[in-house]
Symmetry: C2
DNA sequence: AATTTGCCATGACCCAGATCAACGTCGCGA
DNA sequence: TCGCGACGTTGATCTGGGTCATGGCAAATT
């Protein structure tokens, strides 16, 4: 049997309970590290609402919806996107379990984008006013929010740079592999939850260009591709290509 | 005398004192609105260090410098930039009085870019750990930091989109005019503190393209250009062009 | 006054990636 | 089982904006 196929089935996180985080919770790192894992956590858990599952194609929120809550992905995968005046979709980001959606809505106080499930997905919903209030009493939580905002800002501006299509695709694959690895999956396998066209809309390329570059990377022995399963053969060279975007 | 010339000389803010903000302080909105204008402000002022002036071309900080403080522009203008492996500069942003530099350094804990004065500039320096600590006691300050991060994130991802050179230049001029207007300057005049080449590095275009588009916008009666002074004649049509990037 | 240096403008040409077109494949509902 | 629509690949052609080259101008320097 081919090693690429069926290696990764679906990413999901356990559900957590009144005293434990979902295993991939966006806040767990900050809180557990800081010794908040005892009763203080009750305050955090009490404001969490488990929502979903949303099926593939369903909206979690839409552009201009009033912003009240952040969404942490528990399982599945999500895209956020805007539609410009010509009807062109622009994908802002893909989100995997453990990642947080909605940070770009804080300032406008409305969601500036749609969020759509790429596959069946569940979420933790955090009231933003409640989590802000809690953050004033939990400095590490505040810090974690600052860090996540800052991280997303850095990523957005690096991706905004003037890079070749090869660099973009290499950075996309490398980044995704690292994020899968952060969930405990083998770093060399990436299961794409999105179409070639969605990758293209994210990287500001045409879907044909994605196909061609996947093909070229395959011919150069950088990756193996079977449909939406990608195996990274030469992560070394891929990282070098990605370096201008990912920074390290 | 030509109306474009010498309308805007230099932007600067008064210096503030122990109980008053600089008139354009990045935090003044949040704090004054929230009724913090009495003794609580002392805590904020006490952690501020006035630095500068830096002359044109001088670095405020450099890539990989450890991140300890945010810088608010008091007067002058600044660019932040990265240099990629081919030696190409990429400008991340321009900053005017009242704006805050360094938010993208929180997550990596090092500055991911250089900051260089475009003209003689002064700053307020805020220790980040001190301001975070204070933010736990001043919810509106925390909120203001969240909002500024979120705002910059939104701007970065809109600029990252797939837009024509015309749209980019229109958005650049419109945005700058709005930010000048926020300082109380007439909205129709923009004084560019940066070269054509720097505009190009910011918008991911060639400097020749900036020249050509300024020329075309002039011929179409959208703007008047004299060196680095720009007068916006038809802000209506310019905003329509910019709409896909600026959103409103 | 002459020279250098940085900045800006404009024409000629080129290229990375978009667009257009054709076709193959897969999954799914009737 | 068939048909249909979404998805992916590949080839041919086009184009927006990049690159290269030239020249002008103004401030700084000699």
């Amino acid at each position: 049997m081919n090693p690429v196929q069926n290696v990764i089935h679906a990413i999901s996180a356990d559900d957590g309970d009144a005293l434990h985080f979902c295993s991939t919770c966006a806040f767990s790192g900050a809180c557990i590290d800081a010794g908040y894992d005892k009763p203080a956590l009750r305050d955090l858990h009490v404001m969490i609402e488990h929502v979903g599952p949303y099926r593939a194609g369903e909206h979690i929120f839409r552009t201009n919806d009033p912003f009240r809550a952040l969404y942490a992905v528990r399982s599945g995968a999500v895209k956020t996107l805007t539609v410009d005046t010509n009807g062109n979709e622009q994908i802002l980001g893909f989100y995997l379990p453990g990642e947080l959606i909605g940070l770009n809505a804080i300032y406008p106080e409305r969601f500036p984008c749609d969020a759509v499930a790429l596959e069946s997905s569940k979420f933790c919903r955090f009231s933003f006013s409640a989590i802000s209030a809690l953050a004033t009493r939990m400095p590490m939580l505040q810090q974690q929010l600052f860090r996540m905002l800052s991280r997303e800002l850095g990523m957005a501006s690096r991706l905004a740079g003037d890079h070749s299509a090869d660099e973009r695709v290499a950075a996309f694959l490398t980044d995704l592999a690292q994020r899968f690895a952060a969930q405990g999956f083998p770093e060399r396998y990436v299961r794409l939850a999105m179409t070639r066209n969605e990758i293209a809309e994210y990287l500001r390329l045409a879907s044909e260009t994605i196909s061609r570059i996947f093909g070229r990377f395959r011919n150069q022995g950088l990756i193996r591709v079977e449909g939406r399963n990608v195996e990274i053969i030469n992560s070394e060279r891929l990282s070098i290509l990605a370096h201008n975007i990912l920074g390290d």
